[in-house]
Symmetry: C2
Subunit: 333 residues, 2 copies
């Protein structure tokens, strides 16, 4: 294992400390319990939004804390859910009196721990609503999941719900728009190489030199199939087809197309995938109105990528375009 | 070689096509000769700024084309300088009557080809000035370089010069501020793994499983030394010390600290490096006033990172903060 780390035990706390040092204008950090919170939280009268989950997927979620997006992020150990304690503390820290929305990726640990934290927060008088993101069309149940996994579509949920909270929507309204995004977003991934969890020290799975895994999870969980390496265009088609069929997306739809890197894939490859995915959608009469390309929901140093398609309506597009100021997504501010 | 590509010959053209498809609001692309240009170029009465070089370092340079930064970027083949033709065409395309600045990384091919293009442009009546970035303190002469190499500091030169052009500075003034940044910026890198050039199909060098290379170039050129893997804090110190000694940076200085990923390194590792570098600078009385962490000047899928320090004055800081709207760097717009 070759990594730019100190003690594997301290990867998350040191990375979070570095993040806080790099972005003092945006965030502050609670060290114990560990969470990242907007510098100006709580924002009086506005819905607070909290997300979180295992570390190793950066910039998800800490990179999306700031005006117009998340109010707090709760990083667990690498690929491991945070416990209820820091989720509860983060929830209280962002409660500006209008309630708090939890955006949870659909993994059993996350769902349980966010639920427990929500119950405890409610007992303390904080109104909490939760939405569960499950955009990955690759598999129904998985290693850590009942139902579909939540992957890169989470970023779109966080951005759009964050913008709704920022404009002053009520908790019900913010939860409703988050649910609408979840209902219309679909993703699928591919891995070329595994990632190495620091405290494990070994690759989480193995692939032959000419083999790739279609439908990989962001923790290296099994996908749909292992196949021989193919040209990028064929791989893009393999990922896009089940996405389009699932919703289904149809001719005349306006969409946001996201090509997300898993952490170890160069930008040229992401843009080559984007090129084919956009071309394929155009051939099907589906109009790419917005796009996002880069490393947003990663799996440490995994080489691979995912494609995400969100069916946009006018309100979602406007909320997507609204100003945002976070470490990883920033415009209009 | 496992990559998300089609024919290795088409990597650059397909990636640029994908880039254009993803960012139609920002850029358009000339396919032959190949260059990426601001959607609104030429901007009448303002200095145009052109950069470029071999591909494989994305988002450098295409990701920095847009209002407040570059007016055009000229991508050569992977790790190979573009020829004078596309540089000349890009130069003419961004000439709004106030002249054009070439920002060139110090590699022999780039320097020669930009020089030829500048001469041809001058013959066609376009006033051109050139600056050469040589921020890498690792080695004096290198595989493709007389003098120091230009690496991640280039991003800072492009941002600050771009902001000066945007506010309406003259060609002399834009060139002068670019030279001032070049005079005050220093960098050094480290590699854990090599990158694989698509048309070569094999790693550009080899490192043992427990070995890293200090002072690596962004094309995998030899650095200062190969050593056994160390804790991240020790590696950060090894890179930062020669940077600080070189300018030298001194107590009381205000700086921008950039930790740049080489393409294959997870964000947690970049922030762990940032944490130690910021701590070390603070110990030396050097004040980190601005920061930038992420993949900005890469070497395909190389695992590794670089540290860049820029001594800021008030004008540079204001130009750094000025609005920018590019694919890879965006704020205030």
């Amino acid at each position: 294992m070759k990594k730019l780390i100190n003690d594997p035990k301290n990867v998350v706390t040191e990375a979070v400390a570095g993040f806080a040092a790099a972005h003092p204008d945006l965030v502050r950090v609670s060290e114990d319990p560990l969470f990242i919170v907007r510098q100006d939280a709580p924002v009086a009268g506005k819905v607070g939004i909290v997300s979180g989950g295992g570390s190793g997927h950066e910039p998800l979620h800490g990179g999306f804390v700031g005006p117009g997006m998340l109010h707090a992020a709760v990083p667990g150990p690498v690929f491991t859910s945070p416990t209820p304690d820091p989720i509860l503390a983060a929830t209280k820290a962002v409660d500006g009196g209008a309630g708090v929305l939890h955006i949870v990726k659909n993994y059993t640990g996350d769902v349980l721990n966010f639920e427990t934290a929500a119950d405890l927060a409610a007992a303390d008088g904080v109104e909490v609503r939760s939405v569960v993101v499950n955009d990955d069309v690759a598999v129904k149940d998985s290693l850590y999941t009942a139902g579909r996994r939540g992957v890169a579509g989470t970023v779109l949920v966080e951005k759009i719900a964050g913008a709704a909270a920022e404009r002053g929507d009520s908790l019900d309204q913010v939860a409703a728009i988050a649910e609408r995004v979840i209902g219309q977003v679909r993703s699928m991934g591919v891995a070329l190489t595994p990632s190495v969890v620091p405290h494990a020290g070994e690759p989480s799975f193995t692939l032959e030199d000419d083999e790739i895994e279609i439908g990989i999870g962001i923790h290296g969980e099994p996908g749909r199939e292992r196949i021989k390496l193919e040209p990028a265009d064929a791989i893009a088609d393999r990922m896009l087809e089940p996405i389009v069929q699932d919703l289904p997306f149809a001719s005349g739809d306006k969409v946001l197309l996201m090509v997300n890197g898993m952490g170890g894939t160069p930008q040229v490859e992401l843009y080559i995938l984007f090129r084919r995915a956009a071309e394929s959608l155009a051939e099907q009469g589906i109009d790419v109105e917005r796009s996002l390309v880069g490393n947003f929901t990663t799996s440490l140093e995994m080489q691979g990528a995912s494609i995400t398609v969100l069916k946009l309506d006018d309100e979602m597009a406007a909320l997507w375009d609204a100003p945002v100021n976070t470490a990883a997504l920033r415009w209009g501010m």
